[in-house]
Amino acid sequence: MSHPPYAPYALTERLERRFGDPGDAARAFSLARCAELDRRAEFPAAICRELDEAGVAAYYVPARFGGAVRTFEDTLQVVRLMARRDLTVAIGHGKTFLGGVSAWVGAGPDQARRVAAEVLGGGVVSWALTERAHGSDLLAGEVTAVPADGGYRVTGEKWLINNATRSDVVCLLARTDPAGGPRGFSLLLMDKRRLGPDGYRCLPKVRTHGVRGADISGIGFDGAAAGAGDLLGAPGGGVETVLKGLQLTRTLVAALSLGAADRALRLCTGFALGHALYGRRLVDLPHAARTLTTAYTDLLIAEVLSLVATRAIHALPGELSVLSAVVKYHVPTSVDALIANLGQTMGARAFLATDDVHGLFQKVERDHRIVGIFDGNTLVNLNAVINHFPVLARMFAEGRADETAVAAAADVAQPPPEFDPDRLGLLSRTGCSLLQGLPAVVAALPAGTPPAVADAARRLCAAAADVHARMAAHRPTARAVPAAAFDLAREYVLCVTGAACVRFWLHNRERAGGAERTAGLWDGALWLEACLTRVLGALRPGPPGEDGGDGGDGGAVYDRLLPELLAQYRGGFLFSPLPCRLPEERP
């Protein structure tokens, strides 16, 4: 067997083989077992132990601190493979990455190693940011840490915290300056084992829409003592560290959506192949088939954007403030819609909660809704994009782009440069190279670019120019951001997704296109044509069959994707433009 064209999928394939066919109920990490735990609202503790034994936690820790992460793509793929089976597990286990991320971006090396050792030793670390009354408004936080005895005394409650109860260590954002403000908060590593059971109180587990087994609870302190050494990073640096850490987590959280989308599409494809309507298989009815192929296209767009943005953590850290918001808005939102669309095809099976295969779809739907809500919701992320409008508009007009870095982000055959947290910034000074360089790239597409693709790429550039012109006219406001700016931000995000697709194709078409298993997707740039058609349809929604809508050809490009979709399903491959074998039973 030749090398996989995409190195991180070797890790995925190894772990997938270890956990086995998700459809095999006898397996520990099976769909059936996860569904049963969900019905009982029970935390998947045994599965998490298996993950620990498999060494999954090492993929939450950068190599320089002793972990296995040389590229965050590994983290993305590990979380994605868990999410393909169960979001409760992916969140319950993967949240330790969130607990530790502040250390990777904001702590000194010694402290980072201490956190790393905790994670690598199987410790559960949670990240306590939000409070009952303030939600995403971190600067309104009321948990205080008052200097005392050379350390701090901590008072107050954090709420809706993943693993607040189960965790060993809580990475806590607390107000250290009574006046608050961006420099008024600090991060503290609250070690519950050291505090002892009287040093804190866990708040009851909250009953949720989905991920019912997850430990979503809270934690309260009543003058708990923290040592000076528990302060993570510099005093007053808490908010900055959190905002930088969120850039990583908001990018990587896409893995949850990619896993959920793979499962939803797999369930629906199986249903469409096995269910008959009007005497025909559902998959042979054009309307139902189109729902499958557009969902597949949406998944490909989400994956390509996620891959490029994840590599941008390494290659374009200074622009991650834009890209992470784009990913965290687009991927969960589009996958919510993807699941809802597939649900229309599933009919009654979309809401049945039976204990057989038919009960799985509604679980994916319920579980996935959390992804868009937690760790920076839709509106927070669109606001982040809006805050960048002036620089984005200016840089686009100047055509400024760091093409070397873009190539490093987009070309998945090469390992990305080492991650340098010091290059993260709260506001990108260079905008978003991915999109800003697009007009120049599209003006010089390689010979042999299919005309339909070249045409679509040019239309994307025209749309991007229009969007940036309107962004330039936007008057920045601190608070009363007009609703129209949110619409504009959504359009901007679509342009970035299209740019990510073009870049990904350009930098990988020769190598990835040569892989036998995915050759059909790359032949004639099929997947790219479908993705651009989809993006342009959303950017320029118009009557079907005319400009926009389903594209000028009535969406025939989607129909050409159907054999590729079915081949990946039947062959037991991940839904992806890159080949990745799964242990799924092949139907």
Binding site: L285, G347, F351
Partner: protein, 570 residues
């Protein structure tokens, strides 16, 4: 089964306690934690997977079932729009109760009112008026909405039929005394091989029928969705409902009524979600002000309000058309059942983005929002899903384009005048194919001359869209007129349905009084609908401000957000 005709008790004395206002008063303050019919009790019952017992008792006491029984048979059913508005009060409080106690009886009864003989009609009327239940046994999961391939058989065997097979996802299967059974009575592959049986379950030999375990569902968890399996079960000959082989035809007529009414009642769920979101937005402080102060939040709330009004206008016009234009309702009621649940679902999602993490919690002051979000999709799938509704319309598009759209006369004003009386609903006049007739869409051209320039401009664009659709639909490819219809045909159908919704809003405004007569909501509603056609213009700022004010006033005054603005309890 005996179809003895007994005079039902006179229920006129209850009339003052029924209807939307009476029901609302009995439901009481939703936010009172001690109210056995309040939100807290509703959420708790859902957690237990039970239908709200106190709710069923209350509905028994006020005889809700009479709403489903024609007046000629001793009930209170006269007008489909009134029925929708009345039962909407229950749905505002609890979708599970509204579906599990109420609408499911109406779905079962509709084929009986449409095709039953006098004895059968009287029997079912008496049963329902006695607070007993009827179940509609149609679904076989293997075949979904494809009724013509249903397999449960009823074979003639003197003195009646022998039934074999199973029905699934039957609401109240186990506690219904009457079951309307859709059964195969012929071998042929077409649409004349199925018949309805009206079965008295209490008279069947217990050993020949078995109840299936409940089907657990993500939404409406308290509904008793079960199933029945028959094994050589004898059913008397007088159970045959309507003509032998006539069930598909009956379904396509009778379900026009339920397909117009069901979406109309579910509008109540969005009312509660919007009220809950307003309550959240008014209290939640973010970045130094309330959420309600954020322009984006105000825009989302006003948008949901407009969506709700659009849904009410379309479903109300659809319901009134059953009385006034029964030749055209095969198309219009399918449009209602397609678009209204879709808009409700999308509006619910948009509001969930605003409510944020609280929309994900099954506890706390906003838990009812989460429950409604879970309940709503089920109503989309129940009783004909989106594709089935569109499939009813698509093959009719070429003829609508050729005959209806170019020269239709606008419908009578009474179609839109919510206060105007209606002629009786005659199930026999409901046509299963519109034969190209569509008066409603003519309202677009009418409004293109509206005195309000904003309305006129929007209507002119919509009329132009109808003209464009006409060109496309007149020559719809052959394949698109069959089961192999393409997505392009489904998209044309969706755009046509959006135009019908716009026409309904236009008509309601022209014939309205008070708020309904004001142009503001119509301008906003048309902007929302034009956005569905791809137009990028937002609802104008001044309109949004006026609607936000109306919304706040209704919230403060405890008035419903629908076209009626009725007083609520609490």
């Amino acid at each position: 089964m005996t179809h003895a005709i007994a005079a039902p008790a006179d229920r006129a004395d209850r009339a003052d306690q029924t209807g939307p206002a009476g029901l609302e008063a009995r439901l009481g303050d939703p936010l009172d934690p001690a109210n056995p019919l309040g939100h807290a009790a509703v959420v708790a019952a859902d957690e237990r997977g039970e239908i709200l017992a106190a709710g069923e008792e209350m509905l028994d006491a006020c005889g809700l079932n009479a709403e489903f029984v024609p007046r000629s048979l001793g009930g209170r059913f006269e007008r489909a729009d009134r029925l929708a508005e009345t039962v909407r009060a229950v749905f505002r409080r609890d979708v599970t109760l509204g579906l599990g106690y109420g609408i499911t009886n109406f779905v079962a009864a509709a084929p009986v009112w449409a095709s039953g003989d006098a004895g059968q009609r009287a029997w079912l009327a008496r049963l329902l008026l006695g607070n007993r239940r009827a179940a509609a046994a149609y679904t076989e999961l293997r075949h979904g909405n494809d009724f013509t391939r249903n397999e449960l058989t009823a074979l003639p065997a003197a003195p009646g039929f022998v039934v074999d097979g199973r029905k699934e996802l039957v609401n109240n299967a186990e506690r219904a005394d009457a079951v309307v059974l859709f059964a195969r009575t012929g071998d042929g592959p077409g649409s004349r091989s199925h018949s309805h049986l009206l079965v008295d379950m209490t008279a069947l030999p217990a050993g020949r029928r078995r109840y299936l375990p409940r089907f657990p569902t993500a939404g409406v968890r308290g509904c008793l969705l079960g199933g029945i399996e028959f094994a050589g079960c004898p059913v008397p000959g007088d159970a045959l409902l309507g003509e032998r082989g006539g069930a598909m035809e009956t379904v396509l007529k009778a379900f026009q009524v339920t397909r117009a009414v069901l979406p109309g009642v579910v509008v109540g769920a969005l009312d509660t979600q919007l009220r809950t979101a307003l309550s959240f937005a008014g209290r939640r402080v973010l970045y130094g002000g309330t959420v309600a102060d954020l322009p984006n939040a105000r825009s989302a709330l006003a948008g949901a309000f407009l969506d709700l009004l659009v849904c009410d206008a379309l479903s109300t016009v659809g319901a009134r058309a059953l009385h006034l234009c029964p030749a055209e309702t095969s198309v219009l009621t399918a449009a209602v059942k397609y678009l209204v649940p879709k808009i409700l679902r999308e509006a619910s999602y948009d509001l969930s983005v605003l409510v944020g993490a609280r929309s994900y919690l099954r506890e706390g002051p906003y838990a009812i929002f989460e429950k409604m979000m879970r309940d709503l999709p089920l109503v989309t799938f129940a009783h004909a899903n989106a594709a089935v509704c569109q499939a009813t319309i698509i093959p009719q598009l070429p003829r609508l384009a050729a005959r209806g759209w170019p020269r239709a006369e606008p419908p009578p004003d009474a179609l839109f005048d919510l206060g105007a009386g209606l002629p009786p609903l005659d199930f026999g006049r409901l046509a299963i194919n519109a034969r190209g007739a569509d008066g409603l869409s003519a309202m677009l051209a009418v409004a293109a001359d509206d005195a309000d320039p904003r309305v006129a401009a929007s209507a002119a664009r919509l009329a132009a869209e109808l003209a464009r659709l006409r060109r496309r639909c007149r020559d719809l490819p052959a394949r698109d007129r069959t089961v192999l219809a393409s997505r392009a045909a489904f998209d044309l159908c969706e755009r046509y349905i959006v135009l019908l919704a716009a026409a309904a809003c236009i008509g309601v405004r022209r014939n309205g009084t008070g708020f309904r007569a004001e142009p503001d909501w119509l301008v906003g509603a048309l902007a929302r609908l034009e956005a569905r056609l791809g137009r990028r213009e937002r609802v104008p700022a001044d309109i949004e401000a006026r609607l936000t004010a109306e919304l706040s006033a209704r919230f403060d005054d405890h008035l419903t957000f629908d076209l009626y603005a009725r007083r609520l309890a609490g």
